[in-house]
Every structure is written in C-alpha cells, then in structure tokens.
C-alpha cells in the first residue's frame, strides 16, 4: 500500500467497514507474526535478527461475504492480498512479500454441514484441520488426511498447496478428498464449483483452485469426503537388500492392494532406523507398511503382502516399529527433533512414474552431494500410486553461512540445482508442499509453453494481479 496522507486511513476505514474494527490491524506485532512461516528463509532472517517482509495491514474476515467485500476494496485500490491460515507452509506461499493485506482466514472456522448419508462434511476453510478431524471422530468418522502439519494447518492451507497425508496411498491426496468448493474471485464474485467432482458437465473447476496457492482467489468453503474408521490398522516392517528392490516391492504391492502407509527409506535413512530397531548396523532399504480396513480383508491382504516382501528377500521386522512410529509420528516435528536453525535444510519432494523415480533419486542426490560437499542428502518414498510414487528428499547443512544474504544465496543454489535435476529426469517442481515463493522461478522451466495456460487463467481472473503476488510463478 502506497497511498498518500490520509488516504491510507480512508482505505483502512473501508476495510473496517467490511469486517469490523476489531478485525483490522496495523499493529507492528501482528505484522511480524504473519511475516514468518515455516519457509527456511524468513526463519533464518528472523534468527539473524533481520526485520521480515511484512504486510501493511492484517484483515480477519468472519464470513465469505466479508472476504468478498475485502477483495472488492483491494481490487479497486490494487492492493496485494495474501491469504494466511496456520502459517505452517514451507514454501513461503503465505508471505506478504510485497506488503498489502494479509487476509487471515482463521475466524472462518465452522462446520457448515455434516451429511452422514453422503459421508461428506462442508467446512469453512479457516478451520484448523485437527479440529475438523476431531469433529469427524466424534461421529465415528475421519477425513483420513494426516499430514504432520495437521495440528497447525487450516483446511484452506491444505487446499492451497494440494497437500497430502501419511495415509495417502489408500485414501488419496486433498484433491481426491475435496468434492466441491466455494471461492471468492479477486473481483469479489462468490462462485461455487459443482456439488460433485465427477461429471461430464465441462471440466472439473476444483482443479483450477486446488493447489493454486491463493493466486486465483480465496477458497472460503469446501466439502470433503468422510471415511469410516477402519476396523483394524495392521503394521509390518521389512528390510530389503537395496533401494531398487524396495521400489520393485512397492510397485508389485500396488498391483494387488492399497496399503494405507508405505514408506520406503533410502540407505542413509535406513541406517539410523535399523540401528534403533535391531541395535546393530545393517545396510539396505527399510519399508514400513500398514493396511487398513475390515479385519477379514486385512488378514488376507497382509498374507499376500508378506509373501511379496519375502519373495524379494525382505527381512520381516514385525509390527512393533510401525505401531510405535504411528503413535509418535508427529513427535519428529516438535523442537528439538524437527529440522530447524541453525541447520540449513529443505524438503524437495518430487513425484514421478516408476520408470523415472529411482533415476530422480540418484540425480538429486548427486546434484546436492557433488556440488555442495558439506550438505547431506536423505530420502524416503512415502506416497504411492499404481503408476509411481513420490520422493521425499531432504538436504541438511550443519553450518550454513552466518551472513543472511550469503545463506539465502546458498540455500537457493541448492534448491535450484536439485529441483532442476528432478525436472531433467521426469520429475516435477514439487509433490505436496507447493511452489510458493521458493520455487516460482522454476515453474516456467517445468511447464515451458504450457505455462501460458496458468498465466491465462491468472490474467482472466485477476487482471490487476492482486492475489498473492510472486507465488506459484504466475
């Protein structure tokens, strides 16, 4: 916002008129706390005592209609609008790097409709996802979306970057779970996608807004599938001779059944896990599996799964590891277990077909380790489809440069090098953390001329370019 004199106050008055005075803030502290998310760069910036890139004003609408009023004002004055939920994104997608308005959605936190016949729930997108899951649990249901960020992310946040949870191999990604949406367009129009996502009534409009990171509008309500709680969830772990074998096992299992959890670790990650389980060092590729469903069905699936694993020389490590892992699956994301400053780190997840996924692993590993000798590379493969799987690979540097600008430069060099290696081998910019500010630059490299489709949508829906500038590469 760069108006002169009292004009700033005039605009603030309009915003107050839209959402109420209590819900418009220009307090310095409110600007700071919405200027740092889980992206490593703003955290490093804050760690070094540097002032963050902040919004000019924080606006907290309580309804869809209030969101519409705010966007009408912003569009008229051409003020950037960045939507903020739980602040748990790792790509900088919710940072107001050009100032303007932070649209904090968390007052929109209600369940709108619970339909047990259709097994759907409609919810406002500012609702904390764990609160929604608990609400469903009260009715004996679950959304089966269990990312490590479930306690901090909002419904809208998971839609914005098209997130994924640890049970995705069976239950799907957010785009498999979300049936319909209400969206406020940048001009203030309130639109609805069709009530169901499967039809022959034109393209599925959900696909335009899922993963669009708030660059095309603000998703204000969404309807999700509900699942019954499984009668049983059975865990089993195996150690395979190497990563190639582990991927082959995953591929074969997916031809027969859909485990809820299938996590295959590379040799670097396997070494530390195996030491904890067996108490001795052992090389190979560790896989943790879980099957959900009716006890009778799971018993049959488990027998077949064990047969497949043994056929490939898998050492059966029993159910205990998986059970413990499930109970403590988010503990790793609490300090001091979580990767955090003073380390430099990044999670560079990509996804590809089985034909390419191992190539991508080696290409990214070499891109990181050969070019940045002080940087470690670890990976696992944790979300599987019938056609391929994702690689959840991370780089870790123990002692990044103290100078914030040098640290930023090196951080970006590592990212560009590694993600370009993925792109060159059939991968994509990102699987489920999103593009955000971090990877926007690589979107044109990924899409080539196809990028004009996304740019065209952006131009049509947001001609003034107010929505989440510099994100997703549009």
């Amino acid at each position: 916002m760069n108006p002169k004199g009292y004009m700033t106050q005039m605009i603030l008055s309009e915003l107050e008129d839209a959402v109420g005075r209590d819900n418009v803030s220009t307090r310095e502290t409110d600007k700071i706390v919405t200027a740092v998310d889980l992206f490593w760069i703003p955290r490093m910036w804050a760690d070094r005592g540097q002032y963050p890139a902040t919004a000019d004003v924080i606006v907290r609408p309580g309804t869809t209609e209030e969101v519409a009023k705010v966007l009408v004002i912003a569009n008229y004055y051409k003020i950037p609008v960045t939507t903020w939920g739980g602040g748990s994104g790792s790509q900088g997608g919710a940072l107001a790097v050009t100032g303007g308005i932070i649209l904090d959605t968390k007052r929109m936190n209600k369940v709108v409709e619970y339909d047990p016949d259709s097994m759907t729930v409609t919810v406002e997108t500012g609702m904390n996802f764990q609160q929604l899951e608990w609400y469903a649990n009260e009715h004996g249901h679950s959304l089966m979306h269990y990312p490590s960020s479930i306690t901090c992310g909002t419904v809208g946040g998971f839609i914005a970057h098209n997130g994924i949870g640890v049970l995705s191999t069976r239950y799907g990604k957010i785009d498999d779970m979300c049936l319909s949406m209400e969206v406020v367009l940048p001009n203030g129009s309130i639109i609805h996608t069709l009530p169901i996502p499967k039809h022959s009534s034109g393209p599925d409009l959900n696909a335009i807004f899922l993963g669009a990171e708030g660059t095309f509008g603000v998703v204000t309500k969404a309807t999700f599938r509900l699942f019954e709680m499984p009668e049983v969830r059975k865990f089993r772990a195996f150690l395979f001779p190497d990563l190639t074998t582990g991927i082959a096992v995953g591929r074969e299992i997916l031809k027969k059944m859909k485990p809820s959890i299938m996590r295959l670790y590379d040799e670097a990650e396997t070494a530390s896990i195996i030491k904890k389980i067996l108490g001795v060092s052992k090389t190979g590729a560790f896989m943790n599996l879980a099957l959900d469903g009716l006890a009778e069905v799971v018993a049959i699936e488990e027998r077949i799964m064990i047969e497949i694993c043994k056929k490939y020389g898998g050492m059966d490590l029993g159910p205990e590891y998986g059970e413990k892992w499930w109970d403590s699956r988010v503990t790793f994301f609490f300090p001091p277990h979580a990767l955090d400053l003073p380390l430099m780190h990044g999670t560079m997840d990509s996804v590809a077909t089985f034909a390419n996924i191992e190539k991508i692993y080696w290409a990214m590993k070499h891109a990181v380790e050969d070019n940045f000798p002080d940087v470690r590379f670890i990976a696992h493969f944790s979300h599987w489809y019938e056609w391929g799987c994702i690689i959840y690979d991370r780089f870790i540097m123990e002692k990044p440069p103290a100078d914030p600008e040098e640290a930023l430069r090196l951080h970006n060099q590592i990212w560009y090098k590694a993600v370009r290696a993925a792109l060159a081998n059939g991968g994509v910019v990102n699987d489920h953390h999103g593009v955000g500010l971090k990877l926007g630059k690589l979107m044109k490299e990924q899409y080539g001329p196809t990028m004009q489709v996304l740019e065209g949508i952006k131009k049509a829906l947001d001609p003034n370019g107010i929505m989440n500038p510099f994100k997703m590469g549009v």
Binding site: T29, R48, G49
Partner: protein
Amino acid sequence: MFSEQAVKTFMACRFCPMCRHVCPIGLTTGNEGNTPRGKGLLLNYVHTGMEFTAEMAQDMYECCLCHNCASECETGFSPPLFIREARTQAVVQDLAPPAVRALLDNLEATDNIFGLTAENVSPDLREAVGTLPETAPTLLYLGATARFKTPDIALAVIRLLQKAGVEFTVLADEPSSGAEPGDLMGFVEDVRQVAQKCAAAITASGAATLVVLDAHSARMFKQQYAEWGIALPAAVVTATDYVAGLLRDGRLSAKAAGVAATFQDDSALSRELDETETPREIIAAMGIDLKEMFLNRKRVKSGGTVLLMEYAPRLGQLAGEGRWLDAQRAGVPVLLTSTPDSFVVMRETQPETMTTTDIFVLLEQNT
C-alpha cells in the same frame, strides 16, 4: 531480561506451530498473535535487539495460561513460562495494559483483583463463616472468586463439610494465595511475599489439612510454594478430592440428582494438578447421566478464566463462547463445573438454551 529456561523455550517455540490447535484464545480470535508461536517469535525479536513494546506486552496478556499448549507439546516445552516472564517485563517497564494495571492496583489495595473488601462478601456467607471456630484441624480456603462472585458455591462446600462432620474453619479475612498476581506479573519477589503472608495466615489457623476450593490457588500451594521453599504446615488437598473422599468414606451420601449433563473440566485442576477423576466421582455419586464433552480431562479446552474476563472481557467472552459450542454438541441441557472460576466464565457466556451448575451446589442439594 529472561531466564535461561525462558530463552530456551521461546527459541524452541518461535517457529513451531504444532500446538495451535488447542489454544482456546487463538482458536476463537483467529489472531496469529494469540498463539504460543506468535508470542515466541516476538520474544525472539526482543532477544535479538528489538524494543519490548506496549503492543508486545498486550499480546502477552492475550492468553489465559491454561497450559494446553504445554500439555500438547510432545517434547515438553512450556510457553506459559516465557509468557509469565514477559508479563514481568511488562509490569517492570510500565507497559502492561491499563486494565491489568487496574487489577494490580486492586490487589495492592484489597488483596483481591476485584477491589472488594470483607464488607462486600454476601451476608449469608459472612454469617456462615462467622459461626465457624477460629482454629480447627482443617482449613477451607475459598479464594476470591468464591468469596465475592459465587458465595453459593462457597456456602455449599461449607454445608457439605458440616454435614460430613468435618471440624474445619475458614479465614474471615482470607489473604491472596498469590495465584492472580503470579499470573499478572509472573512469579516475582512481590508475589513471593504475598505467598509468604498467606502461608503465615494458614499456619496461624493451626490446621493440619488445607482444603482448597480455588484450583489456581491449589496449584500455587502445591507447586509454586514448594518451588519457593515456602513451607505449609497443612497437607494441601483440592475441594473436589476432599469431597470425593467424603463420599467414598460414606461420610456423605448423595441421592440421584435426576439430570443429564456434560462437564467442563477446570484447566488448572485437570492439567496442572492432574486431577480429572474426582469431579467425576462426585458426579457419579449423584447418579448423573454424564455425556462427556469434546476434549475433556487433561485435554480440556479452557473457556477462559475470571482473571482474563476482568482485564480482557472481549477475549473472555470469546473463549467462553468457543467452549459452549462444544458443550452444546453434547446434546444435554446442563453443563457442570467443579470450580468457582470455571462456573463464572461458563455462566457468564452461557447460551439461553443451557444452564451452568456447580457440582458442590448440586451435591449439597442432593445430600
């Protein structure tokens, strides 16, 4: 400026959003500053040279110290630690919000946050206390909220002890335990002196057992006094624990209350004192059909505190309303509470279709 442990804690919390799903204030205001992460991030900036401002001070008071964040932290960090220390800084640097300063003035003048004196205690309660002996083996500590805001609850507990034949007394001029000043300005020397004065009054009563109705004071007596090395001559027991024991021992017997109800655990009682079952024993003794509420026992979502309502009424209202949404989903018309503090905040924010009832009052009516 901050203790080593506080620095370690806010450095851990500054980038960690993992507990925001249980913050009763953050969930209802939607304000990013109303999360432990937000507060930790601000203090990180103070630690690296930014000025501690009145805005920051205000943010530190937008928390009811319910300890749900600490309880949910899988690695044991406790944000209330740095929030309390930041409140100390706010008071020391004269940056505390005016409403907080007014409560501190009240405490200094009258030893309670309400600015009330013994004359403001209801005549019934004054009379009941007046009939008790000056010294007795058991001392019942009511707390300021019971004395000034919920005399019915205080009277109910007094009558229950009398019915059970307990030899007890209540201090006519009950001093502050230090709970409220500790929450307003941290556990500083001034508060320690308040605690010492209270301990001296308890000692003078000659009691060997201290029954505490106010959960925040019970937490002070049991935990903070021990940390300060302030010895109490009496064994400290909460009123819920004590009365549940009287029922267990057959010194009290209850008849069926004939109500279906849900129950709001008190945060201090359940989380900080690890006492979740004794209120349920009392409820069960009255044959109440208890429908447990969403998030109960140690996971209870606070409905705010009387202290928060006094200095930040809007936040208190939002916290209470937020919890009532959960209570209404229980599908029963009555909400039970087990402490004066919980009773006041829930009753003040109660929807028209529901009623709030204290378990001691209900038990007294049914014994």
